[in-house]
Subunit: 364 residues, 2 copies
């Protein structure tokens, strides 16, 4: 604000000041952008991450660069956020790139794909494993630039009316399941349904669907699935950690002053940390509440998971054979994961395992 006052008074002087003014205007112009979110306000940690990101950008530019977020449907429907940025209807979107697997399954790899990376590996791949460059190259052809701007952590495997003992128990289930996971589930006899968040509960209640995967305890609780179904399954083989992105129209982004580009990049990075921390703080409390209301946490039997994995491998093999861009990114991630998993299973995973074992002693 102070700079604006100065600019005005300087301009009032005319002459010399008028020559200097464009320099200021160029390095710190007042800019307003619209950012369409793929999420309703009710998914408050995720929608809130978009708000947090926009606030940081404003704070880091002394209020000069203002990005206003709109909820899904206010400008365009949630799943048209990417299109709206590409066409220039809005300058920015807050969205999950995995929503656009219909355009190209490669989008899934930039965000979350079945049996792929967890959040720590995703960060390592993006920031120090070549992933950022690879993603930017892919997205440049789509006329957008994007930065990871939030992570939900593992999403849950879903709510099921009946117990899943073998992979055959999945056959014939009408399940709300999104993205590539839907394709994979259908290979196992599941009948995947695409249902908007607000319509899931009624569908479940009237028996139109038998199962649903949405996000995790904190968000699922609000949609009320536990009032109809009590079996809550983990792990969510379909999403080990889901990255949401700030997506920007490439041309508009390139016109920004360097400082504003940096503010977007760093605010996104800080938001990635903040949103996962937020879910990690809130999910445990939500799960406790759900359990106290009769929800039964269940783990998929290992054989079921390995059957789904085999089916997933077959599915990926087809994509690798038919889509060179998918193949390049997939193979790069798999190579990275191989090293990362080898390491983590003897390192940080062992620390966590040790801590779970101390529990009995602590609670004595």
């Amino acid at each position: 604000m102070k700079r604006r006052v100065f600019l005005k008074s300087a301009l009032a002087l005319g002459g010399t000041a008028a020559i200097a003014a464009p320099a200021i205007a160029q390095s710190a112009p007042q800019i307003r952008w619209r950012m369409t979110s793929s999420f309703p306000k009710s998914v408050d940690i995720t929608f809130g991450a978009g708000e947090y990101f926009a606030k940081l950008v404003s704070d880091l530019t002394d209020g000069k660069f203002v990005i206003q977020q709109f909820a899904a449907g206010e400008i365009v429907p949630g799943l048209q956020a990417l299109d709206a940025v590409q066409s220039g209807t809005v300058e920015a979107a807050y969205t999950g790139l995995l929503f656009y697997v219909g355009k190209d399954p490669t989008y899934s790899l930039t965000s979350s794909a079945p049996f792929m990376m967890n959040p720590r590996a995703q960060n390592a791949w993006y920031y120090h494993g070549g992933g950022m460059t690879m993603t930017h190259e892919f997205l440049r052809k789509q006329k957008v630039v994007a930065y990871p701007c939030g992570n939900t952590g593992m999403q849950w495997g879903g709510w099921f009316k009946k117990e899943i003992k073998t992979v055959d128990d999945l056959r014939g289930l009408k399940m709300r399941i999104a993205g590539l996971a839907g394709n994979i589930a259908s290979r196992l006899g599941v009948v995947p349904q695409q249902i908007a968040p607000g319509d899931i509960y009624p569908a479940l209640e009237r028996g139109a669907i038998d199962a649903v995967e949405y996000i995790g305890p904190y968000d699922d609780e609000k949609l009320g699935f536990h009032k109809v179904v009590q079996r809550y399954y983990s792990p969510g083989w379909q999403e080990g950690g889901t990255i949401f992105h700030g997506v920007f129209n490439l041309e508009k982004f390139n016109e920004l002053p360097p400082l504003y580009k940096k503010a977007i990049e760093i605010a996104s990075q800080a938001t990635t940390l903040d949103m996962l921390a937020h879910y990690d703080a809130k999910n445990p409390e939500a799960l406790q509440r759900l359990i106290s209301q009769g929800v039964q946490v269940s783990l998929f039997p290992n054989e079921v998971l390995m059957k789904i994995f085999e089916e997933t491998e077959g599915f990926y093999k087809g994509l690798v054979g038919s889509n060179p861009e998918f193949a390049t990114m997939f193979n790069h991630q798999r190579e990275f994961m191989k090293k990362s998993n080898m390491y983590q299973q003897v390192a940080d995973f062992q620390y966590d395992l040790m801590m779970f074992r101390t529990k009995r002693i602590v609670s004595q």
Copy 2:
């Protein structure tokens, strides 16, 4: 830079411009700070995180706020970094607050303490569990403000000459082991040694010590321990995730314009993500190299870990009884961890476990 040019030309006009000038100077003054690191340049990811942080602050302030980092020993020795900030010798330090447990064991809880949180829980606690406020309150009395500004991930349990089969195998070992872990190890008969990084290898080679814990594969490899000792133990019960901080003189920090404070806060947050991602990308490769040179990765037997844990609980009980500030933060973290561990063991941990099980299939 452009703003400076403008400021000069505006000042040259005198009169009206001179009234406006302080507003600009106040909101974006040129400031140079010195930041003393506790680390030598050879610990390049950690030292590099300090460089990365300083670069972000400069980028986010258009080069106006310059923080220059100095390696341990260039201004003050590594372990006097906090004192140098408190006395005002330097404005900032990049350090591990756990190094100052001699002043107060509470420092350990802000950074890393035996059998406490992993990096995800640490972030959840700091950013959405009340930890930032609690830490700031503790540090205000020490005349500093600090933000988490990096995380190493789990540090390894150490290099041992002989196999550790029972807790009795620890008795009599001369071990380089730092901080509270040294106190705990001594309760188990270990003779803890404080040795500066550069002196560890010679001490190990000439048999002055039998064991050493330092950081993890990437850093340990450079110090060459594997040339003398082949047994490398996990998990590092002493540090489940070590946070380093940017520490700032409270008075100097309070004098900063709001934009610069925000730049410090957000650059720190982005660095926390970046440094862990860096270690997570580099540690797996380093461990592979070590294994190819004959290093044997060993896991501490569960009974050994549980004995160390019992001893740790006894040690903590003493601190809780004698140090009210430690007690408050410790109980707060333990309450948080209880919920977090309950959740993670049925959630993201199960995802990781599933992925490790797919390994056989993937590598076929």
